[in-house]
Subunit: 336 residues, 2 copies
DNA sequence: TTCATGATCCAAAACGTTTTGGAAAGTGTA
DNA sequence: TACACTTTCCAAAACGTTTTGGATCATGAA
């Protein structure tokens, strides 16, 4: 059902029907009412493609989901997606999702999305320190908003958890509990957040006068398997740590499993702390101490920021750092 | 960069440029090469909105994600999404995602999506026995594919796990292990799959000459909390069951937690069986016996089916029932 | 020479919308 | 009456693509 048909039914011009429905003042109230009624009756819904073409804007934002995430990271992404999607829907913007394997295909997908005018802006997540996606987007002048920061020449719009502060606070708390041998299972170093987490950890160590010990530092993928292998190595060392700070809840859950397998009591012999506060963190046995991130809320803010960006807001006003408070549960306690 | 600009650069008509790029035979190889080169050089990417408008097809499929799923069900949906998305991307179709709260807004979102020509077809998941979404889509003649079945007057295209067979097999296995008091924590009865699961359970009971006992049947939401409350009630009864068959891994994990809290040993005193084989099922303590569903694979098939449907395939050829084999892990064993 | 044939190319219409720049008719004022 | 203004409407262009239905020209056959 098109505008033309509605216009013909009413013996009006397409122009008038269009303007009646869009609330222009140059159409009389009586015809406007007639048009509304007719449109309603025949079930007229504007063709968004035609609208978009005419307006020169797609009324949509794109997001890529890297399809080979480890399973245990998934809850993070879906939460983000739901947060973003719901808010965008309210703003009458569509969300176009591409699932592509990480790698060159990913960049290509962004290109298709925006240069093919399918999306006006994109959202990217899990930023790397040097992120070719961001370089590309900046180079092309494509509006985007990131979940996570990056090292870029020009500032970008982002929302991110203040992981540095959070990790400093958690480390300090562990020190307060008497721990001196605190290991960090960090994220892959190409991720921006990896540096933040490590920096926070080192900040607290330094404040307490504890030297950073490379043997107490491991790097691994942000999933459960990464947690198991890293924890296995750290806990098998000559002088094993009494506390394990993990970049991620998934990693922490993996560590928890290894501890159980090795017969190490948590938290009596070993404290474990995660990050994200995934729903399953509270369900773990023992319940996981972790730093909380409101992922769905971040998604909603991300959507708001995309709208603001499309509305011409300055990038400087679109940079948010969110608190990640420490939630102490059963997996952490005083040093043995 | 538009077709027009490329044409002007080359002193050719828009028609010729278009036809050159689209491989029509009525353009000479030499000009085709020139056009290709020029398009490449200036970074021409066709405007998909214009293409879509002209072709009368959106080249996209829609999917709704009901935004208030319980957290523990999420992995299911993301897996499905990734499976669908990846395959659609390969078919050069976009995936438009809407996140809306369940309820009337959901139907509205479908309407917007397809009547606004934003999507050519839609995918729906978690079908209900009488599903107003399906009625709507059939009524409007909108192509769709469902993950899950429904009771409809006309046949629909679907892919679904054969839960009835799976539950029959699992129940039979429990009986084989000596269980006679087997409880079922079923899904909300408006879901189509709820009936299937219960039917499979009852089939096996009947085969073994065991009467169905309403006191051993509970219904609950498909999430972890549902599992805890239902299990609490069932296990607190006068003659508690020795085995718990759950509609879902999430429910099973909730039940597992309750058993632990009540000091009931699993599997020595109580066997627990789930459904889905979520990644976390294998990680549970004890590892969960469950029926496996290849969710990502189902997503990929779903995408294939949508393409087939858009290509004019008959609905009768687009109905698939998938095996859900029993994966026996640590949470089930002989009856006490 | 004439005519059909093929090989290349192109103008224009169409998809459904929004917007521009009036036109027509009515109303009040001088 | 003549004029300006307001109200209400509309034709046509535009967005970027695909497709239809030729047009043009060279080639070879009759």
């Amino acid at each position: 059902m098109t505008l033309k048909r509605v216009a013909e039914d009413l013996n009006l011009s397409i122009t008038t029907v269009s303007r009646a429905l869009n609330g222009y003042p140059d159409v009389s109230e009586s015809t406007r009412e007639k048009v509304r009624e007719a449109a309603q009756r025949v079930g007229y819904v504007p063709n968004r493609l035609a609208q978009a073409l005419q307006r020169g804007t797609a009324e949509a934002v794109g997001i890529i989901l890297p399809s080979q995430f480890g399973h245990f990271e998934d809850p993070f992404f879906l939460e983000l997606l739901v947060g973003v999607g719901e808010r965008l829907h309210n703003a009458n913007l569509d969300l176009v999702v591409c699932a592509v394997p990480e790698g060159p295909a990913e960049l290509d997908a962004y290109k298709r999305l925006v240069e093919g005018r399918r999306a006006d802006a994109v959202i990217i997540a899990r930023t790397r320190r040097h992120d070719e996606r961001i370089d590309y987007l900046i180079g092309r002048g494509i509006p985007f908003v990131a979940h996570g920061r990056a090292e870029t020449a020009t500032p970008i719009a982002f929302i991110d958890a203040d992981a540095r502060t959070a990790f400093r606070r958690s480390t300090r708390r562990l020190i307060e509990l008497g721990h001196r041998h605190i290991a960090l299972i960090g994220a892959p170093e190409e991720l921006f957040t990896a540096g933040e987490r490590r920096a926070g950890y080192e900040d607290a160590l330094q404040e307490a006068g504890i030297a950073f010990d490379p043997d107490l530092y491991a790097v691994t993928k942000l999933n459960e398997r990464g947690g198991t292998t890293a924890a296995e190595r750290l806990l098998g060392a000559a002088r094993p740590p009494t506390a394990l700070l993990c970049a991620n809840d998934s990693i922490a859950l993996g560590a928890l499993r290894i501890a159980r397998r090795l017969g190490i009591a948590v938290p009596e012999e070993l404290s474990i702390v995660g990050f994200d506060d995934l729903p399953m963190a509270a369900q773990a046995e023992p319940a996981l101490t972790t730093m909380r991130q409101d992922i769905r809320g971040a998604g909603a803010r991300l959507a708001d920021m995309v709208c603001a960006r499309l509305g011409g807001a300055a990038i400087a006003d679109l940079q948010e750092l969110l608190e990640a408070p420490l939630i102490e549960r059963e997996s952490s306690g005083p040093a043995p």
